[in-house]
Amino acid sequence: MEQLIQQFFNVDLMIEAAPLLLQGLGTTLLLCLAVVPLGLAGGLGVALAGTSRMRWLRIATMVFVDFFRAIPPLVLLIFVYSGLPFAGVQLDPFSAVCIAFLLNNSAYYGEIFRAGIESIGGGQRLAARSTGLSAWQSMRYVVLPQATRNVLPDLMSNTVEVVKLTSLASVVSLQELLYSADMARSITYNASPIVLAALMYLALLWPMIRLVARFERRLGASAGI
C-alpha cells in the first residue's frame, strides 16, 4: 500500500513537478483557445454546406464528414506532422495539431450543427423570408440562434472531447500538459506527475461535464421528455 502511494501519489514529487506541469497546462489552454473556435467555425461551415440546396454540395460535404469521422484523430495528426514533411511541408507541432484537429473537429461539430438546423421547422425560414429577410439573414438571425440553442448540450460535450483530444498533441512532442507530465515521469521514474496531470484535467473538465448534464436535464424538461 505504501509502495502504491509512493509510486502514484508522491506529494513531494508532485510539488516538484508542479511548475513544469502548470506551464504545460498553459499550453493546453492556449491550444484549446485555438482548436475549439477553429472547430466551431469549421463545423458551422460544414453544417451550412450540408444543408445547402445544392445537391452536389450536400454530397461533397457528406463525403468530407464521413471521411474525417472514419479516420482516427491520431492518425490524421501523425500524417500531418510526419507525413507532410516528405512533400516539403514542414509544420511545427502547434500548427500540425491545429490543422489536423480543424479537419477532425469540423466534421463532428458540423454534424451537431446540422442536426440543430434540421430540428428547426421549415416554417421558421419561410416566415423569416416573408418578412423580407434575405436567405442569409433568415439563416443568421432566425434559424441559427434557435438551432444552436437546441444542440447546446451536444456542442458542449463535444468540446469536452476536443479538450481531451489535445492530450494527443503530446505524441508529436508539443509541450502541453500531458507531455510535461510524461517528461517529469521519465526523469523521476515515478507515475505521480502524470497522476497530478490527471487531477488537473479533472479540475478542468469535471465542472464542464456536470454543467452539460444539467443543461441536458433542463432542455429535456422543456422539451417535455
Binding site: 472514419a70 479516420i71 482516427p72 492518425v75 512533400a87 469536452v160 481531451k164 502524470i194 496531470a197 479533472l202
Partner: protein, 227 residues
C-alpha cells in the same frame, strides 16, 4: 522527375507498400482484436453498471456516478500512461495491449453506462407499474419489460460512442502495440518514405468508413422518437 511523379513516389510508392504489406496486415489483425475486445468488455460492463444502478442502492450508485464522471473527464491517454509506466514500479507489468484494452474498456463502459441509464430512465413509469402488477419481480420487469424498450433508443448514441472509442485504439502506438498506426510509423521510419503511413491511413478509412456509414443509417432508422 516531375512534381507529380515525386508525389506518387513519396506517398504511393508500391515497392515500399508491398514490402511492408505483411506488417500492415499484422497491424490490421491486432487493431481488430483490440477493437473487438474493447467493445465486448466495455459494453457488457456498461450495461451491467446501468442495471445495477436501477436497484438504487445509494452507495453503489454513488460509486458508479463518480467512476463514470472521472472516466469521462480524463483523456484516455493519461490513464494509459499512468498504468503502463506506473504499474511496473509496484511489481505489476501489463503489456501495452492489455493496458490499452483495459483503459478503453473502462472508458467505453463509463459512456455506455450513462447512455443505458438514460434509456432506462426514459421508459415510462407506467411500464414498470404494469409489469410489476402482472406479478413480475423487480429484476424481471427490468430485464424483460424496461430494458428492451430502453435499448432501442440507446442504439444510435451507443454506436457513435463505440466507433469513437474503437478508433482510439490507434493510441496503442504510443505504448508499443503493433496495431496499424504503430506498424505504419515503424515502416515509415525504416523506409524513409511516407507511403506506409498513407497506406495505414487508408486502411483506417477502409475499416471505419463502413461503420460510420452504418451509424448514419442507424441514426435515420431509429429516429422515430424525435417528433
Amino acid at each position: 522527375m516531375s512534381a507529380w511523379e515525386r508525389f506518387l513516389d513519396t506517398f504511393f510508392n508500391w515497392a515500399v507498400i508491398t514490402e511492408y504489406l505483411p506488417a500492415l496486415g499484422q497491424g490490421v489483425l491486432v487493431t481488430c482484436q483490440l477493437a473487438v475486445a474493447v467493445v465486448l468488455t466495455g459494453l457488457a460492463l456498461g450495461l451491467g453498471m446501468a442495471l445495477l444502478r436501477a436497484y438504487r442502492f445509494w452507495a453503489v450508485n454513488f460509486v458508479i456516478v463518480i467512476f463514470v464522471d472521472i472516466l469521462r473527464a480524463l483523456p484516455p491517454l493519461v490513464l494509459i500512461l499512468i498504468l503502463y509506466f506506473g504499474l511496473p514500479n509496484i511489481g505489476v507489468t501489463f503489456s501495452g495491449f492489455t493496458v490499452v484494452w483495459l483503459v478503453l474498456s473502462l472508458v467505453l463502459a463509463a459512456f455506455a453506462e450513462e447512455i443505458y441509464w438514460a434509456g432506462v430512465l426514459s421508459v415510462d413509469q407506467g411500464q414498470w407499474l404494469a409489469a410489476r402488477s402482472t406479478g413480475l419481480g423487480f429484476g424481471q420487469a427490468l430485464i424483460f419489460v424496461v430494458l428492451p424498450q430502453a435499448m432501442r433508443m440507446t442504439i444510435p448514441p451507443i454506436t457513435n460512442r463505440t466507433i469513437a472509442i474503437t478508433k482510439y485504439t490507434a493510441i496503442g502506438m504510443v505504448v508499443g502495440v503493433g496495431e496499424v498506426l504503430g506498424q505504419a510509423t515503424t515502416a515509415q521510419s525504416f523506409s524513409g518514405n511516407a507511403s506506409p503511413l498513407m497506406a495505414g491511413a487508408l486502411i483506417y478509412v477502409a475499416l471505419f468508413l463502413p461503420l460510420v456509414v452504418l451509424s448514419r443509417w442507424i441514426e435515420k432508422r431509429f429516429a422515430w422518437r424525435r417528433a
